[in-house]
Amino acid sequence: MSRFASIEGLFYLAAIIAIVASLKVVTGKNTVHALLYLVISLLAVAVCFYLMGAPFAAGLEVIVYAGAILVLFVFAVMMFGLGIDEMHNAPQSKGLSLWAGPAFLGSLLLVELIFVIDNSELALQLNNQVVDAKQVGILLYGPYLLAVEISSFLLLAGLVAGYHYAKPEHRGGRL
């Protein structure tokens, strides 16, 4: 029991959940169901970060990926209006089986998280080596300032390239 309940054991459990959920994402036929597993995968990664003593990164993972990016994905799926394709791959049964898998994995993560927070010994171990938001900020705006700047150019490149591919085909002559 003690071996399993160590931080290491919990970390591997979360990692396995992440891998299983990711496999379900790429093997799933229906986009929305795949996205459901993607949320689980991202949450599992967040738990991994938390167990490694990086609560700030874990929080970002939840807010940015599981929150914002996933909303974008759902938005894009709705916008494309896949219609027939989506109907084609829609599951026949409307029973529990669709959300049982993600719900099970998600509740496993929840149990794990509650266990860590509840167990005072583990919580103490985690607090020993915490990298908090302040330290991350100091590093990003100190020695790694150039990396932040380069990332901004990277985003600009992605934006411009994406805009070019997505803009309407014919603009009608010279601007």
Partner: protein
């Protein structure tokens, strides 16, 4: 160690660092300014001119820094991320030169389209910025960011003419494969980090604990994955499948950009990483390099043999050339690092000049086809009897082909001679055998191009007579001929400048 303690040890940017970094800063400032310019006035002429201006200034600035001697010695470390030495700026100068060629060739291609192509020039500048960060990087994080910046902007450029036949397919192929390459690389970096605990290139030594047996496995896997990610971009042999398709489908100036800028930058960072980390002391790594080099030489040259499409042929030939170039990574001692850099940069210069020449001729022919509303790709047969119709172009073409084939009195020969020398010093006989046999096979497809150019055949597929030919800038052609001839005959004048 607590990250906050580390900060106090590392000095933040000071004036010297700003001066040394100025070409890259100028480039990024130029990108921001060109965004403003687009907001103010959308005009293709102005934006093209402005991009060229930025590149010229970047080129002059890096040349000036090279000659000022501020970079001599071990180079200047700028924050943990970047380290600029003279080789970085020599590569950056090469990159700027080829970018200038790309922009001036693009102007001809884009003339025939109706839209204003602001994004095009912006993306080219972003590619150059990515390449500049790559050649200056001294840290896996900046290397990865530069790599991504380079690939993502290239994805936008590769499928730029969306209405053309292969554009979207090519763009997707490049996007997916370069994403694969980056994920391989990222996994490799993670493995290396798991052993070394540091992402800087410079942290390594032969006695470090991760070279010993129990830890060696993960470190080796990490290095291997990292190398395979870079090999994707360099289109080395087991990872070369995307190259011909993407070369063919991309707009020709962008093909030139991929063949020169992206490859020069990736190769420079590969050399920096290998030499700083001391991978040349690792026998297994050297074995992998030798295997990949031999495979690239053989596969690249063999696949080019029956190729009729010029752009695909150039793709295969570049696979072989980067196979040859891998020889410089196989060095036996730290003393030969300087010579390795010199050989690599000389070879890259020769490769760059030859590629610029050949692609500019391909663009001239493509322009001719599109003006006569028979839009198609340039095949070998289209070049029949070129010598009798366009003297200057044909002479340039012959020079470049001879240089790629490595015939004496051209730069390519001197470059190959350096590589040969390098292989002899490190006593890697397999590589010498591969180089000789590969060059032999290479002649079998380079020489037919020259024969085609001289062939007198009235039933040629295309007749481009004097009056309806596209006027390629004569000065440009003559300049390229003189440069490649001069450096071929007097290689010292360039190579003494390289060190």
């Amino acid at each position: 160690m607590n990250p906050v303690d580390k900060v106090s040890e590392i000095t933040l940017m000071n004036t010297e660092m700003f001066i040394v970094l100025s070409p890259i800063l100028l480039l990024s400032f130029g990108i921001v300014l060109s965004l403003l310019l687009i907001a103010w006035q959308r005009s293709q002429k102005i934006i093209a001119l402005f991009s060229q201006l930025i590149l010229v200034f970047t080129l002059l600035l890096s040349m000036h820094l090279l000659s000022s001697g501020i970079l001599s010695g071990a180079g200047v470390q700028i924050t943990p991320l970047l380290k600029v030495d003279q080789f970085s700026y020599l590569s950056l100068s090469l990159i700027c030169l080829s970018a200038l060629a790309v922009i001036s060739l693009s102007k001809q291609v884009l003339k025939s389209q109706v839209e204003v192509h602001d994004e095009y020039y912006l993306l080219i500048l972003l590619v150059i910025l990515g390449a500049a960060i790559l050649v200056a990087s001294d840290h896996f994080a900046s290397m990865f960011l530069g790599f991504e910046l380079l690939s993502i902007s290239l994805v936008g450029l590769v499928g730029y003419f969306r209405e053309q036949k292969y554009a979207v397919e090519t763009g997707f192929k490049y996007l997916i494969l370069s994403a694969c390459a980056s994920s391989f690389m990222l996994l490799g970096i993670a493995f290396i980090y798991s052993q070394t605990g540091n992402l800087s290139f410079a942290i390594n030594s032969a006695t470090a604990p991760w070279h010993s047996a129990p830890l060696q496995l993960f470190n080796s896997i990490g290095v291997l994955l990292l190398f395979s990610g870079i090999a994707f971009k360099l289109s080395l042999a087991p990872f070369h499948f995307w190259a011909p398709d993407v070369y063919q489908g991309a707009p020709t100036p962008i093909t030139l950009l991929m063949a020169t800028v992206s490859k020069i930058a990736m190769f420079t960072v590969l050399m920096k990483c290998c030499f700083a980390q001391g991978y040349y002391q690792n026998d297994h790594f050297i074995d992998v390099i030798i295997a990949v080099a031999l495979l690239s030489m053989f596969i690249g040259n063999t696949l080019a043999l029956k190729q009729q499409n010029i752009k695909r042929l150039m793709a295969y030939s570049s696979i072989a050339h980067f196979g040859y170039l891998l020889i410089v990574l196989v060095i036996s001692a730290e003393q030969s690092i300087g010579f390795a850099w010199r050989s690599a940069l000389f070879y890259l210069t020769a490769y760059l000049l030859a590629n610029v020449a050949i692609f500019s001729i391909v663009i001239t022919y493509e322009q001719y086809f599109s003006q006569n509303s028979t839009e198609r790709e340039v095949c070998l047969n289209d070049w029949q009897a070129m010598f009798w119709q366009h003297r200057a172009q044909a002479v340039l073409l012959v020079f470049s082909i001879l240089s790629l084939a490595g015939i004496p009195l051209t730069m390519g020969f001197v470059g190959k001679f350096y590589l040969f020398n390098q292989a002899v010093i490190s006593q890697s006989w397999w590589l010498i055998t591969g180089l000789v046999i590969g060059s032999g096979i290479g002649l079998a497809y380079y020489l037919p191009i020259i024969f085609t150019v001289f062939k007198v055949n009235s039933s040629a597929a295309t007749h481009i007579t004097k009056d309806n030919a596209i006027k390629a800038p004569k000065i440009f052609i003559i300049f390229l001929i003189i440069i490649s001839f001069y450096f071929g005959v007097f290689p010292d004048s360039l190579s003494q400048y390289l060190l």
